[in-house]
């Protein structure tokens, strides 16, 4: 095993142990922050899959979160559908809608695609606000909880399992030939098509898969919060997810995940500074986009890797 692989394995092991013992170290408030961070982490990773790997700049990820949450919530509230089945239904609906959005956007790139997905999110949000009789509108819709009892602990471990499972699946996907095709499409659609990649199919797949994970996160988080409001799919929320992924690193699932967790915890830790914390994060975001296009974590990881390689080289030179 090379040093970098061993380092990665060690980091993952440390992160896993830290995540597992986290609830024993914190009070209920921070546990709740942890659950929210896990939710954002799944959404940020799914956005990284769509944007960082497949190159489809979408602003609609939180709309799929909203769709997943409302689908499962309304099925459970109005039809007594078991919550896991409701979440699964939300995931399937998100995948289907993701396909439709992907198809409608086939000829759109960059800012046009982003604007279209913003419009889609707003349409969904306004429908949820307007259809208050069914959705509860801005007043919110109370939905059943996933677990009985008042402890947040089961939600934390379920969120952790969902994040781990989602990352494992997305990680497998990006290392597979589909991941290679996603990146080829991101780099150059014409060249990908000339190389035999079915561009339309893989663009739709990227939208559908990313929407599925967002829907899953939405279903889970909705039943944790217990009350749904249309704001969950707002452009503000999407901006937060984008900031999380960009600060972490949009071209790495792990970096986007860590970015989401760090930003969520820092936002809470700096709550005393009220709106100024948002100014701080906006500045961090601006600096990241200007000086570390692939995210702060990727920049840090690259520097670390260079250091390790330099040490390896000097060690070899000494032995020689």
């Amino acid at each position: 095993m090379t040093r970098s692989l061993a380092g990665q394995a060690a980091l993952i092991a440390v992160a896993a142990v830290a995540a597992l013992i986290f609830p024993q170290l914190v009070n209920n408030y921070w546990l709740s922050v942890g659950i929210t961070a896990l939710f954002y982490a799944i959404v940020a990773a799914s956005w990284a899959l769509l944007v960082g790997y497949a190159g489809q700049f979408s602003f609609g990820q939180m709309a799929f979160v909203s769709m997943g949450a409302y689908t499962s919530g309304m099925l459970a509230r109005y039809y007594d559908v078991p919550i896991p089945l409701g979440i699964a239904t939300g995931v399937v609906l998100c995948a289907a809608t993701g396909c439709v959005i992907g198809y409608v956007c086939l000829r759109m790139r960059g800012p046009y695609l982003a604007l279209f997905t913003v419009a889609f999110s707003e349409v969904l949000r306004i429908v949820l606000v307007s259809e208050a009789e069914v959705t509860g509108g801005n007043g919110g819709l109370q939905i059943p909880s996933l677990f009985q009892g008042r402890s947040d602990l089961p939600y934390y471990y379920l969120g952790l399992a969902l994040l781990g499972g989602s990352l494992a699946l997305m990680g497998w996907l990006v290392r597979s030939r589909w991941g290679l095709f996603f990146r080829a499409i991101r780099e150059n659609e014409d060249a990908a098509a000339a190389a035999g990649v079915k561009v339309v199919r893989f663009r739709l797949l990227a939208f559908a898969i990313a929407a599925m994970f967002a829907g899953l996160a939405g279903g889970f988080f909705g039943h944790y919060v217990g009350i749904l409001t249309p704001d969950i799919g707002s452009v503000d929320q999407m901006g937060l997810v984008v900031a999380m992924a960009v600060i972490g690193g949009p071209e790495s699932l792990i970096a986007a995940t860590i970015g989401a967790i760090l930003v969520e915890f820092l936002l809470e830790a700096l709550r005393a500074y009220e709106q100024w914390r948002l100014v701080l994060f906006a500045l961090v975001l601006l600096l990241t986009v200007r000086f570390a296009r692939n995210g702060l974590l990727a920049l840090g990881a690259d520097s670390l890797l260079r250091l390790v390689r330099r040490q390896d080289a000097s060690a070899k030179a000494r032995t020689a």
Binding site: L180, F181, R183, A191, A193, K198
Partner: protein, 238 residues
Amino acid sequence: MEPLIEARGLCKRFGGILAVDHLALSVEQGELVGLIGPNGSGKTTTINMLTGHLKPTAGEVLLRGERTEGAAPSSFAARKVGRTFQITQLFSRMTVLENMLVPGLARPYSLRSEATRQARGHLEFLGLAKLEGLQAKNLSGGQQKLLELGRALMLDPDILFLDEPFAGVNPFLRDEIIGLIQQLHADGRTFVIVDHDIEAIQRLVKRLVVMARGAKIADGAVEDVSHDPEVLRAYAGV
């Protein structure tokens, strides 16, 4: 013998401009054809239609006798039609090997191990073997041209359309590319080459097709076409 690829009455209109005007062209298996013409004569548009990158406004494209006009580029690639682009189009932030693996793995039921073995073979042939771990954007212009050719070779193409393979290439690399094309042609591959480097084209091909203002104005042996008055008029404006 049935042509490998054939265009019948092929037209492409961009708004009010007729870029390709009822073009008839057929290429037999094993031919090495040069497609030349002044700027804006419709050469690249023709290649784009013959490889699925543009949908013809009218006319037919027959690949081994089967109508394929309007099919997706990936469908042409699956039918062993390879191409390179006028401006080199690579997957810049992917490695040289990954660039080669994309077409290798796009084939149904292909195995990564087999595709990797094949990719390394082509990289060896093109003299890029030592660069397989480098990101494509870090290659020189000439190396990028070779990589683009290598990526097309991964389709195991029966026919290769090369759009300006000698543009911006130094004379040594140009000779190297000519040698590579000759070797691949000797292996039985069919080529249609678009370029403005008439000397290189004349060294390579036996048949020249000349286009001007979207229409084919000459088609025949290099010696005949080179002295065709209409061709001279199109190039020199006389």
